[in-house]
């Protein structure tokens, strides 16, 4: 070990191992995480050795190879999707694996689908007899679901929905795994029954043949081309022209179209946002906090190895971390990484409580969950994006090299400010919730526990 780095580890004021266990939520979790990392990293198929020299095509192929191999590995290791190891696999692979939207596809069916739909689709998806994607965003429309243009017209005569993307702006654009891999997608479209619009609903649509992977009739799909990062994912586009799906393909846990065209709703319209809410909570950890932790690790270690200029006349060049300016560039971000790790734990608790209530068909927590996942996703990703960039800058010219690992963290985290809801829009969604709560609190009405501090304002003020 470089002596300049070794000396930094000689007298820590705390037990590093205990702090690691605290972050993992207990020693047993640390043991499981390390076992997963060891199993993944010792397998040559998962190697990331030449990653920085690969083309877009090579990265995509490697991600698919890893995803396919992962299934075998999970079976060999006895890891299951409900097991304690599962959450560490993505971290161990640094997210560079295909079929991530397949997980979202399954989650949306599990949350929004009826028992019958879950029984039909989840085993097929779990066994990879189909590959799913999740198609919400359109070329001309993003976070605002009510603005989506894709239509699903119910045809009573055939008991089918006819799906169309009527204009170029309605084309689904960006869904991961859509460009080249997916055979099916959960597609969000405006439900139309006998000329009346019932708002956005999710439909399961087959897009590629399970026999030869060719596009199904009425489907136009492909890859959206080069991006700033995420070369391993085949983000795609999808056009639908009179694509017919059976009535049973509308996800119908909370609303259903009956054979005679009667529309039945159970629960809140906002439930359609739930998959996105779940995604946002998950991505705070995987796509923002962990990259920030990595960037801090790289920049801090480098900052005690790199020596530049003198602090005192006559002495050797000083470690750059001994300069106050370098400390000020980096240490607040280390603190932020811990702060966001703990806020992520808080959000997961809130989400799990909300999910249990929703399973009991109590939707009271939905607005709070939606508002918190939106606001914190926006705040954390925005902070982390600028913090990772600060780490890159703090490493000078070497930070700019892809080999430092920082540019890929930087470009990747920047994407998290945009996907699953552009941050400004998310801030404003949270604002609606806060203003509502503030008005309620000002009038002396009860508000959710997370915003009770607003009740400190005197009623009527």
């Amino acid at each position: 070990v470089n002596p300049d780095l070794a000396s930094e580890r000689q007298t820590p004021s705390f037990s590093v191992e205990k702090l690691t266990a605290l972050l993992d939520g207990g020693e047993e979790n640390t043991r499981i995480r390390r076992a997963v990392v060891e199993a993944i990293e010792s397998d040559p198929v998962f190697s990331r050795e030449n990653q920085y020299f690969q083309s877009q095509n090579e990265k995509y192929e490697a991600a698919v190879r890893k995803a396919v191999h992962l299934q075998k590995k999970m079976h060999e290791m006895g890891w299951t999707e409900n097991g304690p190891e599962f959450k560490y696999i993505y971290r161990a692979l640094s997210g560079e694996v295909a079929f991530l939207l397949h997980t979202v596809f399954m989650r949306s069916i599990s949350v929004l689908g009826s028992d019958k739909q879950i029984t039909k689709w989840i085993p097929l998806a779990t066994q990879y007899q189909l590959i799913g994607s999740y198609a919400q965003t359109e070329l001309g429309h993003g976070t605002y679901l009510q603005g989506l243009e894709t239509t699903a017209v119910f045809d009573i005569a055939t008991q089918e929905f006819i799906l169309n993307t009527p204009k170029i702006s309605a084309m689904k654009w960006w869904p991961g795994d859509m460009g080249r891999s997916a055979t099916h997608a959960v597609v969000f479209a405006q439900l139309d029954i006998q000329g009346k619009c019932y708002g956005v609903h999710p439909f399961i649509v087959q897009i590629r043949s399970l026999w030869d992977h060719s596009l199904c009739p009425g489907i136009t799909a492909g890859d959206i081309g080069p991006k700033m990062n995420f070369d391993h994912i085949d983000n795609g586009y999808l056009m639908l022209q009179n694509v017919r799906v059976p009535r049973e393909n509308m996800l119908s846990k909370f609303c259903e179209v009956q054979p005679d065209g009667t529309y039945v709703r159970r629960g809140s319209q906002q439930i359609n946002y739930f998959t996105m809410t779940a995604l946002r909570v998950a991505l705070i950890s995987h796509e923002a906090v962990i990259p920030l932790m990595k960037a801090c690790t790289i920049a801090i270690r480098y900052s005690v190895v790199r020596r530049q200029s003198k602090l005192k006349p006559g002495e050797e060049e000083a470690k750059i971390l001994d300069f106050q300016t370098q400390q000020e560039k980096l240490l607040p971000h280390v603190a932020a990484a811990y702060a966001f790790h703990f806020i992520n734990n808080y959000l997961e608790d809130l989400f799990n409580r909300g999910y249990e209530e929703i399973q009991r068909e109590n939707f009271d927590m939905l607005p709070e969950l939606h508002a918190f996942s939106s606001g914190f996703k926006a705040m954390v990703t925005q902070y982390c994006a600028s913090a990772v960039e600060a780490c890159l800058r703090a490493c000078g010219g070497h930070g700019y090299s892809l080999l430092s690992g920082l540019p890929s963290l930087c470009t990747r985290i920047l994407a998290s400010c945009i996907y699953e809801g552009e941050n400004t829009i998310l801030f404003l969604q949270t604002a609606r919730f806060l203003i509502k709560c503030f008005m309620a609190a000002s009038a002396g009405h009860p508000v959710p526990p997370s915003v009770t501090y607003l009740a400190a304002v005197k009623p009527g003020k």
């Binding site: 070990v1 470089n2 300049d4 780095l5 930094e8 580890r9 820590p12 004021s13 705390f14 037990s15 205990k18 702090l19 995480r33 390390r34 990392v37 990331r48 920085y52 020299f53 640094s94 932790m293 990595k294 801090c296 690790t297 790289i298 920049a299 270690r301 480098y302 900052s303 190895v305 971390l321 106050q324 400390q327 607040p332 603190a335 932020a336 811990y338 702060a339 703990f342 806020i343 606001g375 914190f376 926006a378 705040m379 490493c395 070497h398 930070g399 080999l403 430092s404 690992g405 920082l406 801030f427 949270t430 604002a431 806060l434 203003i435 503030f438 501090y453 607003l454 400190a456 304002v457």
Partner: protein, 192 residues
């Protein structure tokens, strides 16, 4: 703000209250502006649009407040032995004071924190940098990333930065493949 000296700003109650005050002020003032606009005849959606920049600021203040509060509560729940609570307390203080230092205007705006108190915040904030500096490497080691996970020539556990940069650069296809520009352009240029 009740703080009398720079040490008072190392009290979680002091800075958490400052954050709460800032969040309430920003939310309530924006709500008041919204209400005034609507009462003066501006349509609801136009009034909302006229408040959006301040609304975003208010939400950020709210999220920042909840994050600081949650961090402080987490630290309070930690066991006191083993030094972990102490270093986490330092980090919590640093995170909170960094937020006040970087967004000074928000806290100074209505005089909740005075100019003199902001100097105390700055002093405490800069003191903390030197304190945490000593544990900087162990603090990131605790994240427990393997070298393969980091995949960084600069950030490996052994700190052999320059050797690794050189070794990895040699793997680049630009060093192992024929240079097509030589045959097509450089050679004719050099041999003309």
């Amino acid at each position: 703000c009740p703080a009398k000296n720079k040490f008072d700003f190392l009290s979680p109650d002091t800075y958490t209250e400052a954050y709460q005050h800032a969040a309430v002020r920003l939310i309530s003032s924006t709500a008041a502006k919204l209400q005034d606009l609507i009462q003066s005849g501006v349509k609801k959606h136009d009034a909302w649009n006229e408040c959006t920049v301040q609304l975003v600021q208010a939400v950020k203040a709210h999220c920042h407040y909840i994050t600081v509060k949650n961090f402080a509560e987490t630290v309070e729940r930690l066991e006191t032995k083993g030094g972990i609570q102490r270093i986490m307390k330092h980090l919590c203080d640093l995170f909170a004071l960094h937020g006040i230092f970087s967004n000074a205007g928000v806290f100074l705006h209505d005089g909740y924190i005075s100019g003199a108190q902001m100097d105390m915040v700055t002093a405490s904030y800069l003191d903390l940098l030197a304190v945490i500096r000593k544990d900087a490497v162990p603090l990131v080691d605790a994240f427990d990333f393997t070298d393969k996970t980091l995949n960084s020539a600069l950030g490996s556990y052994d700190g052999q930065v320059y050797q690794r940069l050189y070794e990895w650069a040699q793997k680049s296809p630009t060093n192992t493949q024929m240079n097509p520009a030589y045959e097509r352009y450089l050679k004719p240029l050099l041999h003309k």
